[in-house]
Symmetry: C2
Subunit: 167 residues, 2 copies
DNA sequence: TTACTTTTGTTACAATATAACATCACGTTC
DNA sequence: GAACGTGATGTTATATTGTAACAAAAGTAA
């Protein structure tokens, strides 16, 4: 029997209360930063909030536009530095295949995840599947390879978008 | 019992004859194109050859520089169009985490692969592991997600580089 | 040859990301 | 509070990766 994957952040259903979802993520980030002596400054908090504005990975320049619209003095380094902070502490993930960033609701600098990304709605579901992990770990062992980081991104169509297309 | 992964293109050992390796890949590409009525033009062949100049994924602009050095009239679209052709027919892969391209020695437009990429020597090993595939397929099934493409890239240190670092 | 399609050349630009240095804000020590 | 040191942000410029759009050339078939 294979272990059950942990659906850390699956595709949200129709009655998903996203405001609560985002607030919870921000609270977790605040708690995490307080406990680790990190400064979740106003800028960093706002960038995190913007990343969490949906479950669709968002590009750095989209975030930049939003900051500027809000009246902040922001340039590319403004955004990238905040993103780096959030990435380093596991508060967001980078989706390499999209050059975009998505929130993570289980902070901690040292965790890997797998993403299913819908080309229809653009949403990304984060999975933590021990079966994938162990398969990769076994291959690494066979190769004598020591793993530093992983990029696992599966693109396709989510259930709801498939259903929508059928009609 | 889990199936054995197929090491499609593992980290080459010290006595790896890369000239032969590259020539074989080019022959395979020629055969593949002939059989499928595709035109492996001089430019495309040369780009493929340059990609195969090592097992290190190579950037588009590096290829461009080399073409220009050789006296070809090349601009970014020159390279990207050739890369697109080679990608579409499974003759190379794109490594999203590096924005770089690496040769594939089992042509065919519709195959997925997993890569182990050494941060020491820069080489990429292509693996086709059914265990990883099936774990992902099971997650997709559980989510009702239909897979279109995959990006699976594991970064770390290969056996030889680990050994080298120990001394 | 002519007509047609595919490939390549060419110019311009879009999108993503970083380097380098100045300034500001915050906490600590005196 | 004043002086200091450190980390965060502002600012300008530039590097890197990738595309759009159209013209010219090369291959293919009637």
């Amino acid at each position: 029997m294979r272990k059950r994957p942990i659906p850390l952040s699956p595709f949200p259903d129709n009655r998903h209360d996203h405001a609560a979802c985002r607030e919870q993520a921000l609270l977790q980030a605040e708690t995490y930063c307080r406990r680790h002596g990190l400064r979740l400054t106003s800028l960093r908090r706002r960038v995190l909030e913007l990343v969490w504005s949906s479950h669709q990975p968002v590009g750095a320049y989209t975030l930049l536009e939003q900051l500027v619209t809000e009246g902040r003095k922001a340039a590319p380094p403004t955004v990238y530095r905040s993103l780096d902070f959030l990435l380093n502490h596991g508060l967001i993930h980078r989706i390499a295949s999209l050059n975009a960033y998505v929130g993570c609701n289980h902070p901690g600098s040292d965790h890997e995840a797998q993403f299913f990304i819908c080309v229809g709605c653009g949403q990304a579901a984060e999975i933590g599947d021990p079966s994938i992990e162990s398969a990769i770990a076994q291959d690494a062992k066979a190769l004598g390879f020591s793993i530093a980081s992983q990029t696992i991104e599966v693109a396709g169509t989510c259930a709801r978008c498939r259903e929508a297309k059928r009609t």
